[in-house]
């Protein structure tokens, strides 16, 4: 370890010198410019909030700094020296470490072994490791059981270990990527204490977040990106949601949306006090032909709620009524009753990668083509699959090709077709256009509008604000496991949703209009 200089004990004085300077960084992917001459400066002991909507370029910038992407142009200086970051190990050697949302610890090793992985010396004794780890954590003001296995720790504790590990590996700049997304409130406080102690050690912190309410508490300054450009920088005193939101919104992506028909009068879905491990009890109703948008920051609980309606996740309380009869809480039971769920995680939860496109489409309709003794009417099965491929405009060279060879947009259309062929009464969409190109996006919106027009009730989980505004009749906004606002589609502008998300007071959903 030779990082005594970078983790020096001296506190930043009145005029902190910049530890990291990013000047004019450009990154393009084909014709798409993800970063367009972006600048970012972080002083010693400064916490800089990096904000922006999905697709604004935050992740690309982080990946450039972490060595996962190579910038096309621009200069990165550390402590005044230009550095080339061509790989993750270059980034760490230069003094930049990134703590990602998902744990990168080795679960079966102890906390001390994880902390000192790769830096254990020749002769390893458990006692030696533990005392070194204890010393290190004490310096950072963290108390953790260093002998415990990493996998036995809570998510919050694992994150503290990761941050400590990052300090040890690269002591100049630490990037925290949405660190509070999976944390409880008291855990957030502990995280902020740790960030304060990083500041005291002179470490520069880049803090990426979607939660505007925590920005004033933790950030010294914020830098806002939009469409890959710097659109503003605010000092601590101005870091309020009302100052930040105008900078965030109004991005140029102006996908046209189809006209949504007026919903019917009859309630198809009634949710009564439904609670999950991630969300408090909520009640709401969806009418026939109505699209209800659910949104919030990652970990706000709205996604779990939508999954619980389908039975993909076990609710902890409450009940779900479809056409006034109680739904079971398992996917086989709910789908037999006419509920469909299109997951946002296509690869893990949607696709049968090696099966032909048409079989991927027909898989949810098998019940309908099953004859005596469970024997399939294979012609009818094929007909359903091919019809779905055609009706939903899934572009493939042959419906026989494995679905894994299609583009993301066409895979998503195939998954919509899978459930469209079932003609469900209620369709639950989870991030329906995630990873979908703009052209296919419009087609997907057209299909959604058409399904709603046919009288299907639709619950749409989305973090794309333009999509929420353009594709839903009403929007329920969640924060910290609670619904905090209920907006009509006219009210649901991007800034209204962002303001609502920054709101702390939970909404009493029992009083919602039907």
């Amino acid at each position: 370890m030779t990082n005594t200089e970078t983790t020096g004990t001296e506190l930043p004085d009145g005029a902190p010198s910049p530890v990291l300077e990013v000047r004019g960084v450009v990154k393009t992917f084909g014709a798409f410019t993800a970063l367009d001459h972006v600048d970012l400066t972080v002083a010693r002991g400064e916490v800089v909030g990096l904000l922006g909507e999905n697709g604004a370029g935050k992740s690309t910038l982080i990946k450039v700094l972490a060595g996962a992407h190579h910038a096309d142009a621009g200069v990165i200086r550390l402590n005044g020296e230009p550095v080339t970051i061509a790989s993750p190990s270059d980034a760490i050697a230069a003094g930049i470490a990134t703590v990602y949302q998902h744990s990168m610890l080795v679960g079966t090793l102890s906390v001390s072994e994880n902390l000192l992985l790769g830096d254990q010396g020749r002769w390893i004794t458990q006692a030696g490791l533990r005392s070194r780890a204890d010393g290190l954590l004490a310096q950072l003001g963290i108390s953790l059981p260093v002998a415990a296995l990493a996998e036995d720790l809570s998510v919050a504790d694992q994150q503290l270990v990761e941050i400590a590990k990052a300090v040890l590996a690269a002591g100049s700049v630490i990037i925290l990527d949405e660190p509070t997304a999976a944390l409880e409130q008291h855990e957030v406080d502990r995280l902020f204490e740790l960030v304060d102690s990083l500041k005291a050690r002179g470490i520069g912190v880049i803090y990426v977040t979607h939660r505007l309410d925590e920005v004033p508490r933790i950030c010294d300054r914020v830098v806002v990106l939009r469409d890959g450009r710097n659109v503003g920088s605010l000092e601590k005193a101005d870091c309020t949601p009302s100052e930040i939101i105008p900078l965030l919104v109004g991005h140029s992506l102006d996908a046209a949306f189809p006209e949504l028909a007026e919903p019917g009068d009859r309630a198809v879905l009634k949710v009564r006090g439904l609670a999950t491990s991630a969300s408090a009890p909520v009640s709401f109703t969806v009418r026939t032909g109505e699209v209800l948008g659910l949104t919030g920051a990652a970990g706000a609980g709205h996604r779990e709620l939508a999954r619980a309606i389908f039975g993909a996740e076990r609710p902890t309380a409450g009940e779900v009524l479809l056409d006034d009869t109680t739904l079971p809480s398992d996917p086989a039971g709910t789908s037999a009753r006419g509920v469909a769920y299109v997951s946002g995680d296509r690869v893990r939860e949607g696709l049968f990668a090696d099966l032909p496109v048409w079989r991927n489409v027909a898989i949810a309709s098998l019940r309908r083509v099953t004859r005596l003794f469970g024997i399939l009417d294979r012609r009818a099965e094929r007909r359903i699959g091919l019809a779905g491929v055609a009706e939903y405009g899934v572009r493939c060279s042959s419906p026989e090709q494995p679905i894994s060879t299609l583009s993301g947009g066409n895979q998503q259309k195939a998954l919509l077709a899978r459930w469209g062929q079932v003609k469900p009464k209620l369709l639950i969409l989870d991030e329906p256009t995630l990873g979908v190109d703009i052209g296919a996006r419009r087609e997907i919106y057209d299909h959604i509008a058409e399904m709603a027009g046919d009288g299907m009730g639709i619950v749409m989980v989305s973090s794309d604000h333009a999509e929420l505004q353009g594709m839903s009749h009403r929007v329920l906004v969640f924060s910290h496991g609670q619904p905090v606002a209920h907006l009509t589609s006219a009210e649901a502008t991007e800034s209204a949703i962002l303001h609502a998300r920054a709101e702390a007071a939970p909404l009493d959903t029992a009083s919602l209009p039907l």
């Binding site: 086989a332 709910t334 939860e349 090696d354 099966l355 898989i363 949810a364």
Partner: protein, 346 residues
Amino acid sequence: MSQTNPAGSSAPPADQVLPPPHRAGGLLSALNLPRGREGWLGLLRANGLIIFFALLIVVFSLIKPEFASMANLRNILQSASVMGILAVGQTLVVLTGGFDLGVARMAATAGMIVLLAASGGPLVAVVATAALACLVGLVNGLLVAKGKVAPFVVTLGMYTILGSVTLLVNNGGSINDTTTWLRGLTSFSLFTLSGSTYWFFGVAILFQLILSHTRYGRSLYAVGGNHEAARLAGIRADRVVVSAYVLCALLAGLAGILLTSRLHMASPVALPGVELDAMAAVIIGGTRMSGGFGSIWRTVVGVLVLYSLTSGLVLLGVAAYWQGILKGAVIIVAVFVDVIFNRKRR
């Protein structure tokens, strides 16, 4: 999204100009012929297993004409039948992404039980055996599906337990058969092929039809291909996994009954190590170990490859000590070829 080309007509979207994917379909595609486009070369590449099997037969027949004799063929098929039925059951479990180490010992146990219960008549004997097999499969399946224990661990435990059960039921002794109905199950012969061969082919055809023509078959592939996606598509994925283990154990029970019927005796140490032969047959057939891809036809060819190889090597006078090396090499090559095919497919 919209493109124009110099000729002025609109260019096809990217997905339409992708080359047709390679299909490692094997026998599946031989029966389920790909629709055009792939040509002879594609068909040849996709049917490596069949071609290998054909070559094996031709080469052995040319060197040793007696290999191709009806008597030898009959012998190969008869000796392959018990292991073949085990391999059919194993295929069902492997399709779900699992593994059953206990099939041969389940068969040995079933062979003992059926004789011990034979005095009660065919119905009692068969029901008792099936009930035991069902119980074993249910325990395996529930521990794997609901208990989330690794299939290797669960079935290793069951393998060890069944090894003890076969010894306990008759104090370690073998039993000689005196019942005619039991012998009758395999003592018939049609067109020179023996009774147990018909059982093997019957079971194979039945289960291939179940896989390709029933909703249950589709569910099995779906669960093996992507368990979570299958569950979210409304398939009772856990139930499908449990049923695969139950069917596998039931087929092992049937194999045990047929073995006892053919040998006119039951031994507590019957079929030593045959569970691994059955696994080898599944692997040679090209059914994917991680689940979701494969078929009974493939396994049947795998079984026949293994037994033809043994028979051919014996006829050629290859010393028994060397046979394992050759068979092992075939298994490894089969998997290696499969890996290469899969790499090309992605």
